[in-house]
Chain length 442, copies 2
């Protein structure tokens, strides 16, 4: 049995009517009838009690098997597979957008017809899933990886940045990157540093709930991503994800200032230390007053996509021992980002080993595990001591963005230059205390 | 020059009128006159442009030196030091509360008369700082440590728990622990597990802004802590800290469910995954509908305060290598708490070394770095694989509480018992999906 096969009561119904995942069916219930394609089993609780159908309008519906009176097979998947592939005519007046698929929930469940849990995404699947997309933009799909995002590593960032670079050099109007949500924020930060002087937006999008669930946010997030990639007057790396519990407001977040703050909620992505750059409501992009880099197709994109140095992110906590740092020294790490406490602190019993790490040519920066707010090493004696040792501050960068920036800076610049660039704002990642006043340096 | 001496323009004024920190003075300005004691210099920006005075009503005020017309010395600190120490008569009908001072901002700046930055706290200092305290409770001050909280380690938790145990065995009506805010949440979690079956509340309190700043929250937090320790009908370990930007609402948070979420804001402490247990408004404690353990002085407190095992908290991020885990195996750690991504994931390239760690007798649990929400290892293949390896879930415990619990469980129980107890709710730290329904098991 594959993971996507129905189980329990739902399986009995599917078997009884002789239908299979991917089949076009008509379901009759007491409250009405529905025509659509049978999707694979949802992986969530109660999945044995309902079947999920993609309606012809592109939306999914979960139907309790208790309520089903009859199911009629209209077209089996087997027949459909023999049809010539549908082609989608490009409309000349629409913006041209490339969607790069890297895997994750947003990509994984949309290709229901294969019955596989983690299939690649084709343009056809995409248009089938979100039919209104073809009215918004001309989308070209580029399947780059097929990874759950916890498996996306810095070497993937290098390849992804390079691929985006080439598409933008070829003159597209915007990029969408479909990505798992687990490390979507890290990738957004990485691309923000790796691709500078952008002429058009790079939009990362994910979905917290897979498209086989009635409550999926995959469709609205994708549609909103297309609106931003095609039309928003900005040229930054942004994350486009549900931002309220309301169904129709989607947030547009700066790539270096956004963090996944909930394991499962649809509005899990939160803007840290600045407001969202804007929102998408329906088909419309609404700008905030935030200072942003605007679109300009004459701007020449720069690629600085090395992420090949060894940098560690070490969380500070009561009980942290020096052995971890000794190991990092012995293994010749180039940098350490400490997620310190409060204003950027770490116990004084570790100051000696940190000093030794710096003497061993390791660059050490400290951020705050509070996430919100900014470091300040001038208030308490601990901070003053850390500065004396040579530890640098992350200011209002939260630990993940600070880690990505330190890794990027050390991979692309000499050590001294990396230390100075880490402390400067270059793409809106460090905001002065009197926001808004951001200057986009790259 | 000591750190607390005035500088710049403020120093000129202090020198001109021949006054010293601790002196009782009268300041005349165009907008009125003020009588109070001169506090040490604030350590914050603009500190050279105002002087801070503790008014006779106990509140602090910062006065811009530009506006000062004259200062008259009413009583010098030198004379005051020769006075017999004030004693505070206990009032028979008030609850008896012990305040244990461990250091941190809340303790460090209140004893302005010594001019030292990190002095110990006496009952007299406390009553001088918050005069209304003596109308609320009879306070006995017990100075245990004098540490900035980033230096509080598990061995401090052991001593602190033991001290509280003895005070409670002696029949007090409540405990207040004054603690630095950096690791206040960790200590609150540690005490929650180390001291079970509580008859009275244990209230941790800190201050985000030191008492020499006009915006200090030290006084309202302390006063509110006294209200909870003396009167609230609860018997849990709680944190009492400002919870809104409004001045007069102070939150009462469960010790295992509270996290410092901002480096500097007064309302930095946030209840995670449950609402606050209650609030203090003025002198009144207002309960939420949350299920809590209520006061009962006949209940017999239990002490389980060992924290002597080696447990590491490892943050998961793109680029994390296996060498850290190899080091933990070689150094014979007992446990590892992984702050994983999303629902509790970590890259599949680390599964092999994690399996090896478990084969080497290390207990591994995973929490989510999202902080909000709960782990679920049943949704994606990564989670299923982690379960197969033998990794256990933290459910709705965020990484810091999960780390403290794992360390505590491994230090007080056999490995098998620790694994099972980690996954059970014992003091309200694991809440079912259908809150409120908590059962207090200990």
């Amino acid at each position: 049995m594959s993971l996507v096969d129905y189980i329990g009561k739902a399986k009995s119904v599917v078997d009884k009517f002789g239908i299979h995942v991917g089949d076009l069916i008509e379901i009759k219930t007491n409250s009405g009838s529905y025509i659509g394609r049978l999707l694979p089993r949802s992986h969530y609780e109660g999945a044995d009690e309902f079947i999920v159908v993609k309606l012809t309008n592109g939306y999914n519906i979960g139907i309790s098997v208790e309520k089903i009176n009859s199911i009629t097979l209209l077209e089996s998947l087997e027949n459909k597979k023999n049809e010539p592939p549908k082609t989608f005519q490009k409309k000349k007046d629409l913006p041209h957008v490339v969607l790069i698929s890297t895997g994750g929930t947003i990509s994984s469940k949309i290709d229901y017809s294969t019955g596989a849990v983690s299939p690649a995404l084709t343009a056809e699947d995409l248009y089938l899933a979100v039919p209104e997309l073809k009215e918004i933009v001309n989308i070209e799909v580029d399947v780059l990886f097929n990874e759950l995002s916890e498996n996306i590593y810095p070497e993937h960032w290098e390849k992804l940045a390079e691929r985006i670079f080439h598409h933008i050099e070829n003159g597209v109007d915007g990029i969408i990157v479909a990505h798992g949500t687990d490390t979507l924020g890290y990738t957004a930060a990485a691309l923000s540093f790796a691709l500078q002087n952008l002429p058009v937006p790079i939009v990362l999008v994910g979905s917290q709930r897979s498209s086989d669930r009635p409550s999926s946010d995959a469709f609205i997030n994708l549609r909103s991503a297309a609106v931003v990639a095609g039309y928003a007057n900005l040229a930054e790396v942004v994350v486009v994800m549900h931002s309220t519990t309301s169904d129709d407001i989607v947030g547009v977040f700066r790539g270096t200032k956004v963090r996944k703050m909930h394991t499962s909620a649809r509005n899990a992505f939160v803007s840290i230390n600045i407001p969202p750059l804007g929102f998408v409501k329906g088909m419309k992009y609404i700008e905030n007053i935030a200072p942003i880099r605007t679109r300009n197709k004459n701007r020449k994109i720069l690629l600085k996509n090395k992420f090949d140095k060894k940098v560690a992110l070490v969380y500070s906590y009561p009980g942290l021992l020096s052995d971890i740092f000794t190991e990092l020294i012995n293994n010749r790490y180039s940098g350490i980002l400490i997620a310190g406490t409060g204003l950027g602190h770490i116990s004084n019993r570790l100051h000696k080993v940190l000093k030794s790490a710096i003497e061993n040519d390791i660059v050490i920066a400290i951020a705050s595990q509070c996430i919100f707010g900014r470091t300040n090493l001038n208030v308490y004696s601990t901070g003053v001591n850390l500065q004396k040792i040579g530890i640098i501050e992350s200011q209002d960068m939260f630990p993940e963005t600070a880690y990505v920036k330190l890794l990027w800076a050390l991979s692309n610049y000499s050590k001294d230059k990396a230390i100075s660039i880490f402390q400067e704002n270059i793409v809106g990642e460090i905001i002065g205390r009197t926001y808004p006043e951001t200057i986009f340096n790259r």
